[in-house]
Symmetry: C2
Subunit: 412 residues, 2 copies
């Protein structure tokens, strides 16, 4: 199936906000074999929107549209869609009730602007937005479909998963049932993984498909299934997932699509363990990733960012001898840092990093990008040296991801 | 002047990479009164590229194109442009020398793939890419211009500023000279700033223009000038900048467009001061922002992320009495944290944060989003309470930005 995406919004066009919806949509439709023909970013103007729809329908049978539906500007988008698909604007009671419900939950009262959100073109079918006030509108003409969704990423993403993707698949694949399972694999190169799963993929029954999303030492696998027989699909998804889990072994770290920091956090919580970080080159970014997870205060006690050697010595107890003999970027120092973090912050586990993020500070022996990482968990320490490519922020990013991977693996 | 942007790349279309070039281009052309008609993201296919160019020229006289020029795929883009604008592919010696020079600098040798980068359509004028191997190509036909640039953001941005923007302005405004100055203003709402600068803006001579780019407590102002008389322009830019600096007073924190952490870092370095952070709700993100700046080890010594109250007490010396009486999210605690950071890490200055990032943990008195921030600089402490809206990561982001703003202001 081919589709086009239209992203509406002056704020996107002038670069005040970056569009992430179109990428999200693509990542979530690709596993079903859907192919994006193009993305258009257009202004909040009727002519621009109409022209974009014409262009999109000229190449694709499905058009997914996000944005242009906030309380201050949905007039234009809705009127344009109404003019395009015919009919007239009507008050939709179910949308009005939904806006009411969401406002009540947030302790707000509806005003005339928000009441306007309940007006929709009579030519559309409304998909209730369960997490926001802007309705999702499904238009259909001559076998072609346009779905208009809000611009707020969280709303579009939630409702795509809950309603839009399942309905699109049902509409265009005549398959009544859809299922997916996620698998997060770490430290196996994509090519090696593909080789290991070759036979598994070949033996998948019709309707089931495995997709790879690799990124920095992590490969996210998504098994999707489409079928008319829901019971059959459920059984197949279960048994194929079990086969996949067996093939992935210890390289599989989660069967949900979630961040590494959350996977580590869940393992810590389950085992009643506490965590600290001791960071040099990552400068607090590992702690930042860990604390982005809601509820992380259950297991995360704190971090010491030890940029200066005196901080490594005074707060983490790294000995001067190791610093002088091996340098700050070395296995002995990073192992002392991780032990010092457990001691100073009274934790069971810790992660430590020490490296050269650049652009300065590199030597022949330890070029820019050299990073030592150690993880200590219940008195057992593992450490490893990496050489990352790229500029300063890329090195910091990669070191952060690798530190989290090592932490997750230590918590098996 | 109206323009359209075309972004080429399968990796963008399938959502593996997010396009940031189109937004950057818009933010840097808007100050000159240029209006974006639309952005198209298309695949690395000749037909898709040709169709996108047709659509773009149908609405705009200028088309800016990024991507499709890496060593493995520039064949398609260049062949498509050559077919579109006519002529034939030819070897450009200046490009070949540029590739040679850049490879020598990186210690690499050219292979057949990279040698191909020196092939360009004879119908284009080459703008030398000073920071990469892919040439920038300027095409012109019937008074319309298309500029093809690489997809690497750093290359496109650098060369837009150095060559493409100046040449576009000269071509379409018949003005030989272009100048701009940046001003970073903190803690003044955009509306209040606009009021304060109303007379200044009205009195600006023809050719000079002031643009506002507001974001989270920071307004970046850009004064741009276009004129035929370079000497006059230089004098006007100087005198208007001086007037603007006087009007902005202490609210102006930099006359270069750079991150807050870098502005703070330069002030610390100038004054020979050292810095630490003590973070609760920001979880290390302030330290991360500070250490993203190259050379930050000159003044940044380290951080203590004190998520658990015991860490606040044991490492930062916050007293139990204050924690019990006022709670962790309070003025006394955040002021003790900042003093404790200076003491524990032996620094002149420190930043501390303590707040409720959510989604849990809020109370009637201290709802989610409540954050206390303190900055200590050479024995002087200032502290302030904020109430931020949005989800967990938004609260962390805003608290980080506000902490950096307070630090910059304390270093006046």
């Amino acid at each position: 199936m081919h589709y086009s995406t239209i992203v509406i919004g002056d704020e996107l066009l002038i670069g005040q906000v970056t569009d992430t919806n179109s990428g999200w949509i693509a990542r979530h439709l690709t596993p079903f074999g859907w192919v994006p023909d193009g993305v258009q970013v257009v202004s909040d103007e009727a002519d621009a929107i109409t022209a974009a729809i014409d262009r999109a329908f000229a190449q694709s049978d499905v058009v997914l549209m996000t944005g242009g539906l906030g309380p201050t500007k949905d007039d234009i988008t809705k009127a344009t869609l109404c003019a395009y698909f015919g009919g007239e604007m009507r008050l939709d009671e179910s949308v009005r009730e939904n806006v009411d419900r969401i406002f009540a939950r947030r302790g707000l009262t509806m005003n005339t602007l928000t009441a306007g959100q309940a007006m929709v073109p009579s030519s559309c079918r409304v998909l209730q937005n369960e997490v926001g006030t802007a309705p999702i509108m499904w238009f259909e003409r001559d076998g072609k479909v346009l779905v208009s969704m809000p611009g707020v990423p969280h709303e579009t993403q939630t409702m795509m998963e809950r309603a839009v993707i399942p309905q699109l698949l049902r509409r265009f694949h005549s398959s009544d049932h859809l299922a997916f399972r996620n698998f997060v694999v770490v430290e196996v190169p994509e090519s090696e993984l593909a080789l290991r799963l070759e036979d598994f993929e070949r033996a998948l029954p019709q309707g089931l498909h495995l997709a790879y999303l690799p990124n920095q030492g992590v490969v996210r696998l998504r098994l999707t299934g489409l079928a008319n027989d829901g019971a059959w699909l459920e059984r197949e998804m279960e048994s194929q997932s079990a086969r996949l889990v067996a093939l992935l072994g210890d390289d599989l770290v989660a069967t949900d699509d979630k961040p590494l920091a959350q996977i580590a956090g869940e393992r810590l919580r389950e085992r009643g363990l506490t965590l600290a970080t001791a960071e040099s080159c990552t400068g607090g970014n590992v702690a930042h990733e860990i604390t982005l997870v809601a509820g992380s205060s259950d297991y995360f006690r704190g971090a010491v960012v030890a940029y200066a050697n005196e901080v490594k010595r005074d707060v983490l107890g790294v000995d001067d001898d190791a610093l002088m003999r091996y340098g700050a970027v070395s296995q002995p120092v990073v192992e002392q840092m991780v032990a010092g973090a457990c001691r100073a912050l009274h934790t069971d586990c810790a992660v430590a990093t020490s490296g050269i993020a650049g652009p300065g500070g590199g030597t022949d022996e330890k070029p820019v990008g050299t990073v030592w990482i150690a993880v200590r968990c219940c008195d057992k320490t593992v450490s490893r040296c990496y050489r990352f490519a790229g500029g300063r922020s890329r090195v910091i990013d990669q070191a952060t991801t690798r530190a989290l991977i090592m932490l997750v693996k230590s918590l098996l």
